[in-house]
Symmetry: C2
Subunit: 419 residues, 2 copies
């Protein structure tokens, strides 16, 4: 894509009311536009990153047997009354609105009820189970304060998968698979080494839930890491009893700030009971379905990558979710060969299926380099007068500044091999 | 995909309160789940159709220079006050809701304001124009009645593109390109021959807008077709003056019911004025940007295809948007070779990149055929005892019942060639 057609431009300053590093950088670099606190529009650059994250998650969910669907955002009051979560005294961050012809409706703040209500139409026999439907959708939470950029939005885009299993064994087997799939997602998104499977509070049906916590000072959560065993617990279950149960010693734990980038939760029959979600087993006996929930906020994951991997010059994307793999920066010159060379290189990369942003604007070299650093595309190729003399292209990595000199005929292979 | 893992099942009857043919068939066949009047969830089958429609539209928008982004659903009151469309006395189908910490917000019912407000951050020079951003997103309209299934929802999924041009000439040039792109969309979605470019009412800035009207008795609109010239007008501009201006004679026009599946609209400076959306031309003079809007409701298009192409047995999908291209129906048999053959055929098609639904359920043949007709996948291959004897597969077209007998080695080529 040509940068002159990108729609967004970089900005020297983020909005005055934007205190989070993630949204500040993403707005300055042209990924996001702020609509209000906790509400952002995704500009073309931002949507490309979100689409890449979505593809990774979809791939991992499909690999463990997930089936994608799309539930409505408008939620039926009657459905939520069944599980006793409609009332504002029970759930305090609903967005609700009124129908023209009377009656109140809600905006999805989570999906358990919608799924239990839909699935009970289709589950009747053991042959219908297990099943693992999931959704990518916009979720709405009426947060009183919203200061963490896209880490905690009033409107955000998430993936939620729900498991419907015949019994605890079948549930536990899937739960373990989901753990692995989640690890893969964070590994592929570039923050695997900093992201820890963490014991967190459970509910009536399981002692613990599990969170995936990515270590960064920007995190709202506090976790305790046992570096020997690799066991990590969230502050909410950091009690004598839990530590003892997990074989941990307080004095050996390291306290860290972290962002919860995913969570998985055993729901037992919490929702199948009120929704009368039952199946007949092979003996013809009626049994309640066992449910689990598995969520990832895509914006939060994107924001976490920005918090963790950016440097003082701007964003540093991992190749897997970068909006483009290569940034061609043409240094405006009176020598027409510069533009010709840049255009030819751009065509070659595009023809080879490489995602490339081409800075074809007329602007000063310093401005272009600053913009390129801020936007954070993994590989930069500068086309300038000076470069032409050498007869080689210089590929510079955004991550660590390493430079590779390459002949024209080797450049596509080099780029394709870089992960 | 195996039908046993599909999640949905067919139903003999739609919901009692569902009076529209499109939603009734789509619910019975397992594409949709009804949440309330005008609000539907898309089950895996339904999402596959929507994704296919989305891909066609995206492709056509990108071909005419579109740039995809994703604007927020939550809308800022202050933004809509600028164009004087916040007040319920001006727009009577808003959904509005309240923030926890005070203040009212709306849910997107259209996108002009959001786009004008975002683009004014990035448009300053003639070099920034023209630009054609677009969005796929959920849109909310507080309809008093909602009886047309997915033809007119309270929540629906649409594509909206907005054009930002330097002047009327540049605008008109793009407007004509958009007409062609829209024609391509409806042609590719299988209703091109029945869909007419139609003169409809304009606004302060253009005499007419243009609608794409698909002829069907299920339509809420009335159009008048001049079969000689191919000129079509909507009832709202069916006046002596307009007919005269277009060289039409009342007595030569044929009246038809139709569904508006798309519309394109010249907005002039209606939004660039209140949003102060200006650019500097080459002489350094400030000029207002000229806008246009181009919408397609994806659910409405899907519903229209169902209204137009279904028959008394069920839905008939065109290949381009069908959830699967092939439906393998295995007739349950004590002869183990039947299942073996069906499994092998399924594997072969999947390996060849063909989208296939495989009815691997234990059920009566009649039930399976009825389900298959109802679901409406373009090609059906029955694997049964009887078929095995012949040593050939029979491919039956859902559209017209035509049957082709094929040897195993030719079947993938035959399927791939069928459009």
């Amino acid at each position: 894509m040509r940068q002159s057609k990108l729609l967004s431009k970089t900005r020297k300053e983020g909005p005055k009311d934007e205190v989070s590093k993630n949204a500040n950088l993403l707005i300055r670099a042209g990924y996001l536009s702020k609509e209000m606190a906790g509400v952002y529009s995704y500009l073309p650059l931002g949507l490309r990153v979100m689409n890449n994250i979505e593809s990774i998650i979809r791939d991992e969910m499909n690999k463990i047997g997930g089936t994608e669907m799309k539930t409505s955002i408008i939620q039926n009051k009657e459905v939520w009354e069944k599980s006793n979560r409609w009332d504002d005294s029970v759930v305090d961050n609903w967005f609700k609105t009124k129908l023209k012809n009377g009656g109140e409706v809600g905006l999805s703040f989570t999906n358990e009820e919608a799924y239990a209500n839909i699935l009970r139409q289709y589950i009747s026999s053991y042959k219908d189970l297990p099943i693992y439907p999931y959704d990518f959708k916009s979720i709405f939470r009426n947060e009183a304060r919203s200061k963490s950029g896209i880490l905690r939005g009033r409107e955000f885009y998430w993936k939620a998968l729900y498991s419907f299993s015949k019994d605890e064994n079948e549930h536990n087997e899937f739960y373990e698979k989901a753990k692995e799939a989640y690890k893969n997602v964070f590994q592929r998104a570039g923050i695997g080494d900093l992201t820890h499977l963490t014991f967190a509070s459970g509910g009536s049906f399981s002692k613990f839930s599990h969170e995936f916590q990515a270590i960064t000072d920007a995190g709202e959560d506090t976790i305790y890491i046992d570096e020997k065993s690799g066991i990590v617990v969230n502050k909410e279950v950091y009690t004598e009893e839990v530590l003892k149960g997990l074989g941990l010693k307080k004095e050996e734990l390291v306290e860290k700030k972290a962002i919860e980038v995913g969570n998985i939760f055993s729901l037992g029959t919490r929702f199948s009971e009120p929704f009368d979600l039952k199946y007949k087993n092979e003996k013809g006996e009626e049994k309640l379905v066992i449910m689990g929930s598995y969520g990832i906020g895509l914006g939060r994951l994107m924001g976490t990558v920005v918090e963790i991997l950016s440097d003082d010059k701007g964003i540093v994307w991992p190749v897997s979710i970068a909006p483009f793999k290569v940034h061609i920066v043409e240094i405006t010159s009176s020598n027409t060969k510069v533009k010709e060379t840049a255009e030819k290189l751009y065509d070659t990369l595009v023809k080879n299926g490489i995602e490339v942003l081409y800075d074809d604007r007329e602007a000063r070299a310093g401005e272009k380099f600053n913009d390129s650093d801020l936007i954070g595309i993994p590989m930069r190729i500068v086309v300038s007068d000076k470069g032409l003399e050498k007869g080689e292209f210089e590929v510079k990595l955004r991550k660590d500044g390493e430079i590779f000199s390459l002949k024209e005929e080797n450049i596509c292979d080099f780029i394709n091999e870089y992960k």
